[in-house]
Amino acid sequence: MELDHEFTVPVPIDHAWAVLLDVERVAPCMPGATLDSIDGDEFTGRLKVKLGAMTITYKGAARIASKDEASHTVTMEGTGKESRGAGTASATVQAQLHDEGDTTRVTVHTKLNVTGRPAQFGRNILSEVGGKLIGRFADGLHEEIQRGQVGPEQAPAAGPEQPAPTSTQVSPATDGDHPTAPRTEGAAAKTAGAATTDGPGRTSPAHQRREQRPTADAIDLLEVAGPAVAKRAAPVAAGFIAVFTIWRVFRRRRGRHR
């Protein structure tokens, strides 16, 4: 399935470009995503989605497959496997920045392949859900880039100056009934190292973002998909009403015979 999104951010292209290449800042734009480790242009993490009664956690890896400063295009590839189940998900996301003076237009083209239970969930639901998911990612990216207008040079830099508060750093990666192990020490340290500028007392864009977006919460895809799923529930409700009506009519008829 292929999806296209487009949005505009009120920052010049160079600023936007710097944000786009910062995995640490971009990855959490994906709702439900948790970063586990970063190693150069490759990173591992988890993506938790909720589909009705199903909560699915994908564990996987992603990498920046290519970045071309001249055309301001970056391509990210990710693959994931359900941590409880046989399903897989993979995506290729290509984001391109278009210089429009003081603003930058961002186009995002996504190729998404999903197998397993969510893929079998229902006709059209997946594309709708995928669309919404990417839409939210684009929104997040939009916000992130807007924050980025303070300038990339002021954006978080590496350096473990202050330890980060664990409440925001070690994400509470539980999916309700099945606790998932928190990220490994090494990965945590690495991530912490990469992101510790947002310590207490300092206000940084990343910190604000973390405060506002509890990234590891599962995103409820049915909630995201909204009306489409409500439509599906309607026949069930109608069925109940019909049965009830028949029962009442039947009862009344019987009553009359008596």
């Binding site: 359900e82 189940g85 046989a86 197998t115 893929a119 079998q120 599906r232 109608a238």
Partner: protein, 784 residues
């Protein structure tokens, strides 16, 4: 004392109390000491190479006692059978019960976990590690046949399994200078049989012997095939089909799950159970239909048919199932339907795709054929500006022409298409509705009325063994029954057919009650257990009554013959002077002489005083192998309201007049017609198995695969004409599939008829509001 005949009486079904309340033995409620539960890990990919599989992490999970991958059974699992190699050179890839190197459809099993309870087994599946290397999926039949296409079976070099050609008459002459030629393409969407009871299997090993309970239609076939696959001697396998909650063809296979449970039970030496979930079932129960039909007719200007040309692509899915390749062939002989013509040309190619394998689904080949020809007769009527009934009338076999050998080479023994059609037209108020339709068209009513017609026939009672042999089918078509009168005068009948909702307990008892002159309540019908029913060929293809019922009659006749000899002996009279009526023997001309058959049974059971050479016990075995199929027919008329603004289709009136020959139990026949109509209408309006572009089945739940329920269906007006079959002593024809075969074209024909003024001549099934709306939009867009 004479009692009212049982045959023809609307007996309420004796099995229904237990079936409706569920207080009976289903496979899933069997509990055995030490029983463990099996869960299957299934491929999430439509097509992938398995690069690594490790089941060992699952073994450490709580409650798990074993886990196996395909490799663990590599030497013993054999391959799942296809019993119908339709051509000599049919491409027939191995269909492994558990995939080893490659998976070819979403849902194909790759490993199992055996655990102490169902939930532990299901939970432990996640611990199995499988690495897949995805391969390009083949999903479109026409693409699959192109040069250089990706292959479902790489080593076979082609996605085509066979091409079967059937030519009758002088096709060249029929098409040469034909004044009218109409060509159409129809799509038979993929359907998922949705039996109320999912599949379930229990295997209990005792020593080197095995008892399998399975929610199957075919315990006898299953036993034989299991023996061949596993090399367990047939006498050491007992298969039991306890009460089974529906099948519609979906339970005629010999499935991966059955074979794997057998192997795992043998390996572990303990009883195992598996019950599928609904979603698992939608993925892995074989699917039905899924054909592309290119069909053309040549006719004269007066509407007389000259020739019919059919080119089919039939989607086999990833592998060949038990009778999958033969399903389109069952339709091959039915494209000409009730019509006379000079030539028939039929070509069918079976195609592999990375989808769930297909096989027989209620009607199997015949609904597809009936749909295509009936739709095309409507097109011919439009072309010639004739009433569609009139076009049919000009071509159908007249009642005085029976027996009639059709262009396909079948001899229809009996029928009366005029009578059934006349009865249907009257009940439907055809002329009145046509007048209303004209009026609404005139007024430009946004809700248009459409009328659909199906004057169908089908071949039932599958089948004459000889004919099956000619078609290269790997099985026979006879049926068996044994009838015994117990010492107390009660009757047990053992039948070789295996009911799963059809009401054999009731119907067969009615036949026996009449034949032996005993109360219906005194007859017990046994079936479905290879230890009690030692021979039989099970239930499918509307064969149980037309073949199995006749075996019952034959067995009763043998019982009576023996009883008569014994009665003559006991009454000290000559056998020629013995008469039998109302359950008692008497000596002709001796008014007071009367010996109830029950007394004869008691005496024969005692064996104190038997005629020379007679064996004790009043019992008999009989089989029946028909000479010919039976040919039910009928006329179905459907009126629909189509809302041209929303695309919503509402069935307003449905009249079904069926001729299924003699009727044993009218209530059961009506029930079969109702259920068949529901399934045929479902294909027309609701159901479709949908795959996405990656080969994921996206209709795995009943929220997405729309099986209609009572509120979705109209009130059916059913009626009958009765032209007895001449090919069996009961005069019966079979009714299990008639409703499904007849109704789909009637409904779609009605939808198209409503939209005809807009220039629409087809709406793809299922005719959902969206599709109808789109067709209207496209038609209007094109016009403006």
């Amino acid at each position: 004392m004479t009692t009212a005949p049982e045959i023809g009486s609307s007996r309420k079904r004796s099995e229904d109390a237990r079936l409706i309340t569920g207080k009976t033995q289903w496979t899933d409620n069997i509990q055995l000491p030490g029983m463990c539960y099996v869960a299957f890990l299934r491929s999430p990919h439509a097509h992938a190479r398995i690069t690594n599989i490790d089941v060992s992490p699952a073994k450490g999970r709580t409650g798990v006692i074993a886990a196996f991958a395909g490799q663990d059974f590599a030497d013993e699992q054999g391959a799942l059978p296809c019993a119908w190699p339709v051509t000599e050179d049919m491409v027939h890839p191995d269909y492994l019960p558990l995939a080893i190197n490659e998976v070819r459809f979403v849902g194909e099993p790759v490993a199992i976990v055996v655990a102490r309870d169902r939930y532990a087994a299901a939970d432990a599946l996640e611990a199995i590690e499988v690495d897949y290397e995805p391969l390009p999926p083949v999903l479109d039949m026409e693409e699959a046949l192109k040069e250089g296409a990706d292959l479902v079976h790489g080593d076979k070099g082609t996605n085509k399994t066979y091409t079967w050609v059937f030519e009758q008459g002088d096709n060249e002459a029929a098409w040469r200078d034909a004044p009218v030629v109409i060509e159409r393409r129809y799509i038979q969407q993929r359907l998922i049989p949705s039996a109320m009871e999912p599949r379930a299997v229990v295997v209990a090993p005792v020593g080197d012997e095995y008892t399998m309970w399975s929610a199957t239609q075919v315990p006898h076939i299953l036993r034989t095939v299991l023996s061949v696959i596993t090399a367990i001697p047939e006498q050491k396998i007992r298969v039991i089909a306890p009460d089974v909650g529906g099948g519609f063809g979906s339970k005629i296979g010999v499935t991966a799950e059955e074979v794997v449970l057998m192997l795992a039970a043998r390996r572990l030496g303990r009883p195992l159970k598996w019950t599928e979930s609904r979603s698992e079932g939608n993925l892995t129960v074989h699917h039905g239909r899924d054909q592309i039909q290119d069909i053309a007719i040549a006719a004269d200007r007066d509407g007389k048919l000259r020739g019919l040309r059919v080119k089919l692509l039939a989607d086999m899915g990833a592998y060949l199932r038990l009778v999958g390749p033969g399903v389109p062939l069952l339709g091959a002989f039915m494209y000409n339907a009730i019509y006379k013509m000079d030539a028939l040309s039929f070509t069918c190619s079976g195609v592999f795709t990375n989808k769930t394998p297909t096989d027989a689904y209620r009607g199997a080949g015949r609904p597809e054929a009936t749909y295509a020809i009936e739709r095309l007769m409507d097109e011919l009527a439009v072309e010639l500006n004739l009433d569609p009934i009139e076009v049919r009338r000009r071509n159908w076999i007249k009642h005085e022409e029976f027996p009639y050998t059709t262009i396909a080479g079948l001899t229809y023994d009996s029928g009366n298409y005029e009578a059934a059609t006349e009865k249907a037209l009257q009940a439907f108020e055809y002329d009145k509705l046509r007048a209303e339709q004209a009026d609404r068209r005139e007024r430009g009513d946004p809700v248009q009325l459409g009328i659909g017609i199906s004057t169908y026939t089908e071949m039932c009672g599958i089948a004459p063994s000889r004919v099956l042999g000619q078609l290269n089918f790997g099985g026979g078509g006879w049926e068996h029954a044994s009838v015994r009168m117990l010492a107390t005068g009660k009757v047990e009948a053992v039948i070789g057919t295996s009911p799963h909702g059809q009401g054999h307990d009731t119907t067969m008892a009615q036949i026996i009650a009449d034949k032996l002159g005993v109360p219906w309540e005194d007859v017990k019908v046994l079936h479905g257990d290879t230890a009690t029913s030692h021979k039989g060929l099970d239930t499918y293809g509307s064969r149980s009554l037309a073949i199995g019922g006749v075996a019952v009659v034959n067995a009763c006749d043998k019982v009576l013959e023996k009883a008569k000899r014994a009665a003559a002996h006991l009454m000290e009279a000559s056998e020629q002077d013995i008469e039998f009526a109302n359950g008692a023997f008497s000596v002709r001309g001796v008014a007071e002489s009367s010996l109830p058959i029950q007394d004869v049974a008691f005496a024969v059971n005692l064996a104190h005083n038997l005629p020379d050479g007679m064996e004790p016990s009043l019992d008999s075995d009989a089989t029946f192998d028909p000479e010919n199929f039976s040919y039910p027919h009928g006329t179905h008329l459907c009126a629909v309201d189509v809302d041209t603004e929303t695309g919503f289709v509402k069935i307003r009136k449905y009249v079904a007049v069926d001729d299924v020959g003699k009727v044993i139990n009218p209530l059961i026949v009506d029930g079969q017609v109702h259920g068949g109509l529901a399934q045929g209408i479902a294909q027309a309006l609701y159901e479709e198995g949908v795959y996405d572009a990656d080969g994921n089945l996206t209709t795995t739940t009943l929220a997405d695969y729309l099986v209609p329920s009572a509120p979705d269906l109209p009130t059916f007006h059913t009626d009958r004409t009765e032209t007895p079959a001449t090919t069996n002593p009961l005069g019966v024809k079979g009714v299990g599939e008639a409703g499904t075969i007849a109704s789909t074209p009637a409904v779609v024909g009605a939808v198209v008829d409503a939209l005809r003024p807009l220039g629409i001549n087809d709406v793809r099934m299922p005719c959902t509001p969206e599709r109808v709306w789109q067709a209207i939009k496209d038609a209007r867009g094109g016009a403006s």
